[in-house]
């Protein structure tokens, strides 16, 4: 009994250009065997090396896929039509690391330099060549980026990129060990590049003097294999995460606050991303920054080096990566804890039906005004705020002003405004009753951000005359009393 087989366009060169052929066979298995015997050129396109039909070859009897009938054993009746129907599939490469490409050779000097790596089978010559072929982009040359970039350079990563737009400040040196005292006032990029070049001249160091943004992230990430997130704020953290997911690059994540640090590896092919853990950012102001809350100087050393460790492991393909695991380190108690993370099928960016398919406005997403952190004190004359100069003038005139310093006691010990009352922001909800709601109040902190929250809070409690000191105590020291130290 002959059955009609419809041949799809790409296979017609192998059936004498016929779009249908008649072949004998009682079952699909027999039919296809007879077909590929008659037209031998079809065989390699229909069958894989193991003799099974290729996954993208679909055989239909009339309108039914044989996968849902009896597969090879599907019987044929007179009048049936069999169709060979392609699935057409393809896609971009998914390899994290370009293992297909020829790995670069090591020079004699490099063999000597990396000898302690080369004698371990987990790295070896091949692993070291993988490191040389690899590229890592560090977001920030601060607390986390400093130790991470230094160890990555020492380990022989071929190309290290650094994104930063900041200048080295004295207050950085307590933890940002890539910079030295003579570097204060220099661009962090210049200082970091010098240090990395001195550490290992074989490393190509690329610097990007720009703030990471939704506009430049995909371009900056494109030439790199792994992204190392050393950012200190939520908008950039979500931006790095989303750009990693969208560009298919793993994110060696770390963050630090006071004595506690966190690390994980996000946005690998099957692993969770930062948004699987935290779909939404915390309300603005809930989590203080390191500038506000302080940070234990050695802490970023630990966390940054964990990020570097995970980066190197990803490149080598060695060990158990920190994927799906969230490491929490407490320096005071000297304890590590580990939380299990799962990829969230409903994750807005890496889930099965993502709603975030391109980079968004992360300042808005996190509820902060653009460049709020860096906002310089604008000249202010409103009822909302005043400058140090204006406050000094009022005090000199003898105006009655109650200055409420909402910093922490340790900060208050370093410098303060004359006559100010210390009520830390966290204590304000229970201590505001100490203040006269009709008094002429000026709220003040280090730079003006916490005190703006204090101002909002006092107003919500019915205080009528509350102004915020723009630029905080730092502005006061700069403009009025340079004899006091700054921090």
């Amino acid at each position: 009994m002959a059955t009609k087989i419809l041949i799809p366009t790409p296979l017609r060169p192998f059936t004498d250009k016929l779009d249908a052929v008649d072949i004998d066979g009682a079952t699909i298995g027999e039919l296809l065997h007879n077909l590929t015997t008659k037209y031998a050129g079809l065989k390699q396109h229909l069958y894989a090396a193991d003799g099974k039909l290729r996954s993208f070859v679909n055989i239909y009897v009339n309108d039914d896929d044989i996968r849902y009938l009896q597969k090879d054993q599907t019987p044929l009746k007179p009048g049936d039509t069999v169709s060979i129907i392609p699935s057409v599939a393809g896609g971009a490469p998914t390899e994290v690391i370009k293992e297909q490409e020829a790995l670069p050779e090591l020079s004699g000097d490099e063999v000597k330099r990396y000898s302690r790596h080369l004698i371990m089978p987990e790295v070896g010559l091949e692993g070291q060549r993988k490191l040389k072929a690899a590229s890592v982009l560090c977001i920030g040359a601060g607390g986390l980026g400093s130790p991470a970039a230094m160890y990555l350079a020492a380990a022989g990563i071929g190309k290290i990129g650094i994104v930063d737009f900041d200048v080295v400040d004295f207050s950085n040196l307590q933890r940002q060990i890539i910079h030295g005292t003579p570097d204060v006032g220099r661009a962090k990029l210049a200082s970091a590049k010098d240090r990395l070049n001195a550490l290992n001249p074989n490393v190509q160091v690329e610097t990007y003097d720009e703030a990471l943004s939704s506009e430049n992230a995909m371009r900056l990430f494109a030439p790199y294999d792994v992204i190392l997130d050393g950012t200190d704020n939520f908008p950039t953290r979500y931006l790095v995460n989303d750009a990693c997911v969208l560009s298919g690059k793993p994110n060696a994540y770390g963050s630090i606050f006071r004595f506690e640090g966190q690390a994980s590896v996000f946005a690998t092919k099957d692993g969770p991303c930062y948004r699987c853990l935290y779909p939404e950012p915390p309300p603005p102001g809930l989590v203080p920054s390191c500038a506000e809350g302080g940070v234990f100087g050695v802490l970023p050393g630990i966390i940054g080096v964990i990020q570097a460790t995970e980066t190197i492991k990803l490149i080598l393909g060695a060990g158990e990566p920190l994927i799906g695991r969230f490491l929490i380190y407490d320096a005071l108690r000297m304890r590590f804890r580990e939380l299990k993370l799962r990829k969230d099928a409903d994750c807005p960016v890496c889930g099965t039906h993502p709603t975030v398919t391109k980079l968004i406005d992360y300042e808005q997403f996190c509820g902060v005004a653009p460049h709020q952190v860096a906002a310089a004190a604008p000249p202010v004359t409103s009822m909302d705020a005043l400058s140090s100069i204006e406050l000094k003038a009022e005090l000199d005139r003898g105006d009655e002003v109650v200055i409420v310093d909402v910093r922490e006691p340790q900060e208050f010990q370093i410098n303060r405004l004359p006559g100010s009352i210390l009520i830390p922001l966290g204590d304000l909800p229970k201590r505001y009753v100490e203040l006269d709601p009709n008094a002429n109040i000026v709220t003040q902190c280090k730079s003006g951000m916490r005190s703006a929250k204090a101002q909002d809070f006092l107003r919500s409690k019915g205080f009528t005359k509350v102004r915020n000191l723009t630029g905080g105590v730092l502005g006061w020291v700069d403009q009025v009393d340079p004899s006091q130290p700054k921090y």
Partner: protein
């Protein structure tokens, strides 16, 4: 080997790639005598993550052949995009390729279409040959 894309087809493939970025787009190419006259957009039905994969299901393939027949054209091949990757075929592309089709790949970097290339599977399935792409009217 060579393939010619009309200006409208070239523009349509590039626009489709930009539109679906950062996901891959895919579609059929209908034409005659090595000239693609129509880029027929198809849904990307992959379940493996559309950033790195595309899949045209058998039903959609049938629709594409049907459309070619009705328009008295041939199914010359398929196009797809490589978001943030170069316009060179991957091992996955090779493993899933059909003979005699032209596979057009457009690279879409950071949302902008870049190089467009076309490829044909070698007879022994071991590699792709790049085709010359010319633009016609």
């Amino acid at each position: 080997m060579a393939i010619t894309l009309t200006a409208a087809v070239d523009a349509a493939i590039r626009a489709h790639g930009r539109e679906t970025f950062p996901h891959e787009c895919c579609g059929a190419m209908l034409g005659k005598d090595g000239v693609v006259r129509e880029a027929y957009a198809l849904p990307n039905t992959t379940e493996e993550g559309p950033r790195r994969r595309f899949l045209v299901r058998p039903d959609d393939y049938r629709v594409a052949e049907q459309r070619a027949r009705e328009a008295r054209l041939e199914l010359l091949g398929f196009y797809h995009s490589h978001p943030d990757h170069p316009a060179t075929p991957s091992q996955y592309d090779l493993d899933h390729a059909w003979p005699s089709f032209s596979y057009v790949i457009v690279s879409v970097m950071a949302g902008e279409d870049q190089l467009l290339t076309s490829w044909q599977l070698q007879a022994d399935r071991s590699a792709f040959d790049e085709e010359t792409v010319t633009n016609g009217d």
